[in-house]
C-alpha cells in the first residue's frame, strides 16, 4: 500500500500561463486551456458552499463558478461527481534555508569584514531578494502541492534581517515564470544563521541590532538626500542594506518576524510599534500560553501545527526527564489554533516547523477536533494569506477573474480523512494520487452459487479482511491495487479445495456492490459478487476497530464508494 501513500505528483498538461520572454525551442505548444469541472461541491470561499456546481477555467483564470451555469462551448468537460473543490491553499511562510556566508574556520577574527557596501553585520542583509537567490526544486514544490498548496510565500532563511520574500506559484518553472509578487515582505528572526560576526550573541543584542538598523535606515535616506543637496559636509556611507530597508519602510512593506517562544511575539511587537512597521509574527504553537498579552499587543500571527509527540513516560526513569510543563504543553498544543481564534487573534496557518510536512492534514483535522472551526481553518489557508500578501483579489477564492488555483478532494478535507486528488495552478493540473476506495464494511454475496461473507476492517489504506464461507472462516490478505480490491485466502480453511484462492474485484460505487473473478488453485475461475450489508460509518471505524467487533457497531449508513 506504500505506493498509495507516497503519492506521485504528475503534471497532466504542461503549459505556461503568463507572457514570457524566453525563446521557444522546437514547436510551439497551443493546448486547449478551457475546462469545465461539473457536479462539484464547491467551497467558493469560507462559509460559501455550492452543491452540484460547475467551475469553468480558461487560460489560467476562473471564468465562471456557480450552480446551473451553461457548459461553455469548446471547453473540455469533466464530471467530478462526489468531489469537493477549494481555492488553492497559500503557504504564508515557506522558508528555504540558504546559507549566505561560507567561511574558513578562522575563528580568531572578532569582526570579519564584508568587502562590499553592505551592512557591517553579516546577519543583517535586508537587500537579499528571494527571487534572485532561491531555486525551488520540483521535489520541494511537490511536498506542498500534495497538501493542496498552490502558492508559496518564500524567503531565504538565514540571519537576523533576512531580506525580501516573494509570492510564487507552486508550479514547475523558473521564478521568472512562477512569481506572482516579488519583495512582498522583509523577513526577520532572532538567529544569526551563517553569519560569522560575533555580535550579537544574545537575544537582547539581536533586538538592539534590529532597532539600531531600523533607525539607521530611516537616517540613511535623509542623509543621502541632504548630502546630494550639498547640505552635509560629512559624507554618509554607501550601504545597499540600509537602502533596501529604507525602501521597504517607505513602501510600508510587511515585516515578518520569526519567533522562538510566545514572549518573543511581544518583544517583536514592541519593535514594530516603535518603528511603525506593518508586522506579522511566525509563532511556535505556544501562543495559547499568553493570549491576553498577545491580544493586547494586537498581534497577527502565522501559526504552525507542530504539536509535540507524546512525552515518554513509559517508565518511571523516563518520566523523571519529562517536566510538568512539557506534559501540559503536549496536552494543550492541539487546542492552540482554537484558543487563538476564540481569543480573537487573526492568524494564518503554516506547514512551517513540521518535521514531516505531509502530516499537515492529520494535524489540522486534529486541531478541528479540538475546536477550531473548519471555516476559520479554510480562511487561514486561503483568504487570509491572500489578503496578507496583497493578492486578495487574485487568490484565495473561487470567483470569476481569480487565478485558477483549485484543489480537488474526494471529500471534506477538514472533517474526514479525505485526500487531495488534484491541484490546478493557473489552470495546470497536477494529479496527486488515486483515491483509495472505501471498502471497509461487511459484504455478503456469492462465489458461483455459494454464499460468502467478507468483513473488511483496519485502516482505509491498509485494510484487513476475514472471509466466511459456509460455517468456516479464514483471515485473508487484502490489497488495493490501483482501485482494484484483491483478496487472497487459503481455500483449504474455507473448504473450497486446496491451495490459495484469489478474489479480485472492482468496487462499483453506483451499485454499492463489489464483484469480480475468483481464481482457484487449479486455475479454474468463478464469478463472485457481494453487496454491502452493514457498513461502518467511516468516522467510527477506528473506534469500532478498538471495540474489536464489527458487528457491535449498529450504525447503518448509505455507502458511497469514491474513485
Amino acid at each position: 500500500m506504500k505506493h498509495v501513500l507516497a503519492a506521485v505528483v504528475v503534471l497532466v498538461v504542461s503549459t505556461s500561463a503568463q507572457q514570457t520572454t524566453r525563446p521557444v525551442e522546437g514547436l510551439r505548444a497551443k493546448p486547449i486551456r478551457y475546462l469545465a469541472l461539473t457536479n462539484l461541491t464547491v467551497i467558493a470561499e469560507p462559509g460559501v458552499k455550492l452543491e452540484n456546481a460547475t467551475v469553468v477555467v480558461r487560460d489560467g483564470v476562473i471564468e465562471n463558478v456557480g450552480q446551473g451555469i451553461p457548459l461553455p462551448r469548446g471547453a473540455t468537460v469533466r464530471d467530478c461527481r462526489g468531489l469537493w473543490c477549494y481555492a488553492g491553499f497559500i503557504e504564508p511562510y515557506a522558508l528555504e534555508r540558504d546559507t549566505l556566508y561560507r567561511f574558513d574556520d578562522d575563528e580568531s577574527a572578532q569582526t570579519p569584514q564584508t568587502p562590499q557596501a553592505t551592512h557591517w553585520n553579516q546577519a543583517i542583509h535586508p537587500h537579499v531578494r528571494a527571487i534572485e537567490r532561491l531555486s525551488l526544486s520540483d521535489r520541494q514544490l511537490d511536498s506542498y502541492r500534495k497538501l493542496g498548496f498552490c502558492a508559496l510565500h518564500v524567503g531565504v532563511g538565514d540571519g537576523i534581517m533576512r531580506g525580501t520574500s516573494a509570492l510564487v506559484l507552486a508550479k514547475s518553472g523558473t521564478l521568472a515564470e512562477t512569481t506572482l509578487r516579488s519583495d512582498v515582505a522583509q523577513l526577520l528572526s532572532f538567529r544569526k544563521g551563517s553569519s560569522r560576526t560575533p555580535y550579537p550573541s544574545s537575544l537582547m543584542g539581536c533586538i538592539a541590532l534590529i532597532r539600531q538598523t531600523l533607525l539607521d535606515a530611516a537616517w540613511y535616506d535623509a542623509a543621502q538626500k541632504a548630502y546630494t543637496a550639498g547640505k552635509l559636509t560629512e559624507r554618509p556611507e554607501t550601504n545597499v542594506s540600509l537602502q533596501a530597508l529604507a525602501q521597504a519602510m517607505a513602501a510600508k512593506q510587511l515585516f515578518v518576524f520569526e519567533t522562538e517562544d510566545e514572549h518573543d511575539i511581544l518583544r517583536a511587537a514592541s519593535i514594530a510599534k516603535e518603528h511603525g512597521l506593518d508586522a506579522i509574527y511566525v509563532g511556535t504553537g505556544r501562543e495559547y500560553r499568553r493570549l491576553p498579552s498577545l491580544v493586547r499587543a494586537g498581534s497577527r500571527l502565522i501559526v504552525p501545527l507542530n504539536f509535540p509527540d507524546v512525552p515518554d513516560v513509559s517508565s518511571y526513569d523516563r518520566a523523571l526527564d519529562v517536566s510538568l510543563e512539557d506534559l501540559l504543553h503536549w496536552d494543550a498544543a492541539p487546542e492552540n489554533p482554537y484558543r487563538c481564534d476564540s481569543a480573537g487573534l487573526w492568524f494564518c496557518l503554516t506547514t512551517y516547523r513540521l518535521n514531516d510536512r505531509q502530516s499537515f492534514w492529520t494535524r489540522l483535522r486534529r486541531a478541528v477536533q479540538y475546536g477550531l472551526s473548519p471555516q476559520t481553518a479554510l480562511a487561514a489557508l486561503t483568504t487570509r494569506p491572500a489578503e496578507l500578501l496583497g493578492v486578495g483579489s487574485q487568490l484565495g477564492k473561487l470567483q470569476r477573474g481569480y487565478r485558477a488555483n483549485l484543489v480537488l478532494a474526494n471529500g471534506d478535507l477538514f472533517a474526514e480523512d479525505a485526500e487531495v486528488l488534484s491541484v490546478f495552478i493557473e489552470g495546470d493540473e497536477y494529479r496527486i494520487s488515486k483515491p483509495v476506495p472505501e471498502v471497509r464494511g461487511v459484504w455478503r454475496g456469492v462465489i458461483g452459487s455459494d454464499s460468502v461473507r467478507l468483513s473488511i476492517a483496519g485502516s482505509r489504506t491498509q485494510p484487513t479482511a476475514t472471509v466466511q464461507y459456509a460455517d468456516r472462516s479464514a483471515r485473508a490478505r487484502v490489497a488495493l491495487q490501483e482501485g482494484t480490491l484483491v483478496v487472497t485466502v487459503s481455500a483449504d480453511s474455507l473448504g473450497l479445495g486446496s491451495g490459495m484462492l484469489r478474489m479480485s474485484a472492482r468496487p462499483d460505487s453506483a451499485q454499492d456492490a463489489i464483484g469480480g473473478v475468483a481464481v482457484f488453485a487449479d486455475g479454474s475461475t468463478r464469478r463472485w459478487g457481494c453487496t454491502s450489508h452493514r457498513a461502518i460509518p467511516r468516522y467510527h471505524v477506528e473506534k469500532a476497530n478498538r471495540a474489536a467487533s464489527l458487528d457491535r457497531c449498529d450504525d447503518v449508513s448509505v455507502r458511497t464508494i469514491r474513485i
Partner: protein, 452 residues
Amino acid sequence: MMYPFGPFGYEQTPPQRTVLFKGATVWTCAAAGVLDSTDVLIRVGKIAAIGRGLSGGDTVIDARGMHLTPGIIDEHSHIAISRGVNEGTHAITAEVEIGRVIDPDDISIYRQLAGGVTASHLLHGSANPIGGQLQLIKLRWGEDAEGLKFRGAPPTIKFALGENVKQSNWGDRFTTRYPQTRMGVEEIMRDAFRAALEYERARAEAASRGLPFRRDLQLEALLEVVRGQRFIHCHSYVQSEILMLMRLAEEFGFRVQTFTHILEGYKVAREMKEHGATASSFADWWAYKFEVYDAIPQNPAIMAEQGIVTSVNSDDAEMARRLNQEAAKSIKYGDMRPEDALKMCTINPAIQLKVDRSVGSIEVGKDADLVLWNGNPLSNFSRVEQTYVDGRCYFDRRRDAQLRQRDRALRALLEQRALEALQSGEQPSSEPSRRRNRMYHCEDVEDEVAGW
C-alpha cells in the same frame, strides 16, 4: 488557564485585599525601628496604617509570634532573563536592554517569593566594561514581562571592571579585543563618555540646522550616564579600579551609584563615602579567582560603619532565596545591629535603586511589599509564611502546599493520558525537555543566538 502554564502557575492574579496583620513584631527598616506586638493594615496595595489596636480589613491575620518585614530587594540578580545574560561580544554594549528580554515564566521568580524576595534588579553580565541597560522588576508571578517591570524606577546600566572585562580567563582566542588591561578599561570608558558628549553637541547642531542626524542607541544610553540620568551599577573587586572609576566619573561630573561585589570595598570605604557611592556585596563568597583573594567577611559591616549605604546581593538564583541569612552574617562577622543587618536586603538596596520612596521599609503610604516570617527573619531557622507584592499575596505557605498537590494530581492525570496515547501506538517524543531552566551568573558568556 494558569499563568505561567506550568508548575505553581496561578489561575487568577492574587486579589488586592485589605489585610490586617495583628500583633506582629514589625521590622520597619525605618526610623521607628523594630516594633513589638504591632498591627499593620494594608489597603489597595499600600500600607495604610501601623499601630496598636487597629481594626478593619477583609482579612485579619493573627500574626502574634510572627515577624513582618519589608520585602527583600536583590540588587544583583540574573533570574528571569531569556537567551543570554551577556552581550559580551563588544567592549561596550550600552544599547542592549535586559528589559526587552524578561522571561516571566522563570520558576526562580516563584522560588524567590518563597524566600521573601519582592523585587529583583536584573543585571546584564560582566563580560565587558560597559554592559547593557538593566531592569528592576517586582516578582508579580504570573504577569507577563511588561507586568513585572517596576514602574517608575530610574534607569540603570551595568559597568564592569577587572579580569572579566579584559578577558583574562577567556582562553587563547580572546587576545585581540580592546581592552586587554585595566588601563585600557579606563581609557575605553573615557573615550565612550567623550563620544557621548560629542553626540549631544552634534545632535543639537543638527537639530538647529534641520539636518538629518543618525540616532545612536549606544551613545544615547551613555549620554544619560554622563548627564546623571542613568545610574551605574558596577561589577568591581580591586581597590585601584574602584578609585579609577570614581575619579573618571568625577572628571565628567557625575557619580557612580553602586559598586556591586566590591569585595575590596573595606579598603576604599572613605573614598567611596566622599564620592557618594553605595555598595552591594557578598557576605562570604570569595576566592573563586585571583582578583577576589583579598575579600574579608567583615567587608559589608566595615563599609556600613563608614556610612556607606550597603546591601547584600545574590548574583545567584539559589542564594537569592535566603538573602536574609546573607544579611545576618554581618551580625556574626561584623557585630552589626540586627536591625541594620536586615536593612542590607530591604531599604538599602531600595536606596541604591532610587526606589526608596515607594519600597524598602514599612511606613504608611509605601507599597505593601511585605514578608511574614514565622520567626526572627535573621535566623536560619525562620521561614516565610507569606509574601505580598503590591498588597497581593503572591506566596502563601498553605497555598503552596495546595499547589504542590494540584501539580502532582495534574501530573498523574497527564501521565495517564500520555500512557494511553503511547498504548494506542502514538510515537513517544525523542526530544528532550524544552525548557533549559537556565540559571545565569555574571560571567556566563556563550552564543545564545547562533545558527538557525
